[in-house]
Amino acid sequence: MKKRMERLDDELFQPLTAAQQRRITAGSTPVTETPITLRETFGEVDDYIRDGDNE
């Protein structure tokens, strides 16, 4: 499918400024919950969390 060819002087294609690349130290969206459990690869088991040292 042929694309519309946009001009490069569009604001969309301007490099990020230094300010835009500065690491954020505050401010973001609210944090949601963390996943409680990981999805088991081979089915549900109850004893996987603390297997102990098997070495």
């Binding site: 694309k3 519309r4 946009e6 690349q21 690491r23 973001s28 944090v31 949601t32 963390t34 409680i36």
Partner: protein, 363 residues
């Protein structure tokens, strides 16, 4: 433009444009980028140019213009001028002589990077933990001290790494007056593996000039008192290099080959995650790593994550699998990412992320 070369039939062959092997286009929903892995930068390009660079690779300009019925001749000329100006590619007669980079990612280390969290109540045996990380081949360690640290406290951690194999150590520590720039500089000189020191809860924001060894020392006023400060997704955290790009195509750029020990000694994929694979006082890191599902998240790459799979930054972004928009869906977008790849807009930060407080606001 290079001079035309004869092809096998003897007719002059029109030059074609080839991207340098280290300059790789990545398509997003609204716009694309060309990642320059050698210069560690990226340039935004229209999706139309992405189409030219991928679907019409190996074609001459005349053929490309003809394909678009000469409707965009001016734009196409502008595109190639742009690519040349930014040294993203070159004209050549035989592009087949310039093969693509092999982007398969492999590493001999079982663990490449680790996080060690420390607070007032931590009772870590640093020698034991760092020794085990050494055995696993760990190259980079981030030590995050959520409390106010003495110099001796930091020194004790670093001493445990003195004869190890770690290549770099990033330190985060709560401010105390004795953590002066001179004292930290001296600490970094004593321990050349230190690559970065960030002091949180500082009275003022301050970024020191990098040391001659490249070590950076930074003071921040934010109080970082828990792992919940982590998971930010922002251009400032993008890593545009071959290693990350290649790893990110097949693996999770945050969790792959990562191991974490939280402040209580629980061994996790990431300190922000709830699941523990045992306490480091009872379970060796080797055993934790050998447990089923320790590596389950390592292979979740950005091409599998909702919304991220349409983002042009997906191979240079560090991701987060701990804080998700939908906690029940391990393939949902990081909750702290405010970028919308469908509009190519970043939403302004709404409020202070959990785990970071302005000075004086901590409990």
């Amino acid at each position: 433009m290079t001079s035309s070369e004869p092809n096998t039939a003897g007719a002059p062959r029109e030059p074609v444009f080839a991207l340098f092997a280290c300059c790789i286009p990545v398509k997003g929903a609204r716009r694309s980028v060309v990642c320059d892995l050698q210069r560690q930068s990226f340039q935004f390009i229209p999706n139309g140019l992405y189409e030219i660079l991928t679907e019409h690779a190996g074609k001459s300009v005349a053929e490309i213009k003809g394909f678009y019925d000469h409707e965009y001749d001016e734009e196409i000329d502008e595109y190639f001028t742009f690519l040349l100006h930014h040294e993203l590619g070159f004209w050549c007669g035989e592009p087949d002589r310039f093969p693509a980079l092999d982007l398969d990612w492999e590493t001999p280390e079982r663990i490449t990077n680790a996080i060690l969290d420390v607070d007032d109540g931590s009772r870590h045996d640093y020698g034991a933990i760092l020794g085990q990380l050494d055995d696993l081949g760990c190259k980079a360690l981030e030590v995050r001290c959520f409390h106010r640290c003495t110099l001796n406290g930091l020194r004790a951690i670093l001493e445990a790494a003195r004869h190890g194999r770690l290549r770099s150590i990033d330190l985060l520590a709560g401010h105390l007056p004795e953590l002066t720039p001179d004292a930290l500089e001296s600490l970094a000189r004593e321990h050349p593996r230190v690559s970065r020191i960030v002091v949180h809860s500082a009275p003022e924001q301050r970024l020191m000039p990098p040391l001659r060894t490249g070590v950076t020392i930074e003071y921040r006023t934010e109080v970082i008192d828990s792992p919940r400060c982590c998971g930010q997704v922002h251009p400032g955290y993008f890593v545009v290099d071959f290693e990350t790009f290649a790893e990110g195509r097949k693996h999770n750029t945050c969790l792959n080959r990562k191991l974490s020990v939280d402040a209580r000694g629980e061994i996790k994929n990431c300190p922000s995650m709830t699941r523990s694979f045992g306490n480091v006082r009872e379970v060796s890191l080797h055993s934790a790593l050998a447990q089923r599902d320790f590596a389950a998240l390592w292979s979740i790459n950005k091409d599998q994550i909702a919304i991220c799979k349409d983002c042009e930054f997906r191979y240079v972004c560090t991701d987060c699998r701990a804080y998700l928009r939908d906690a029940a869906d391990l393939y949902s977008k990081p909750s702290k990412c405010t970028y919308d790849p469908y509009t190519a807009e970043w939403q302004p930060p709404a409020d202070m992320p959990a785990g970071i407080h302005t000075k004086g606001a901590s409990e």
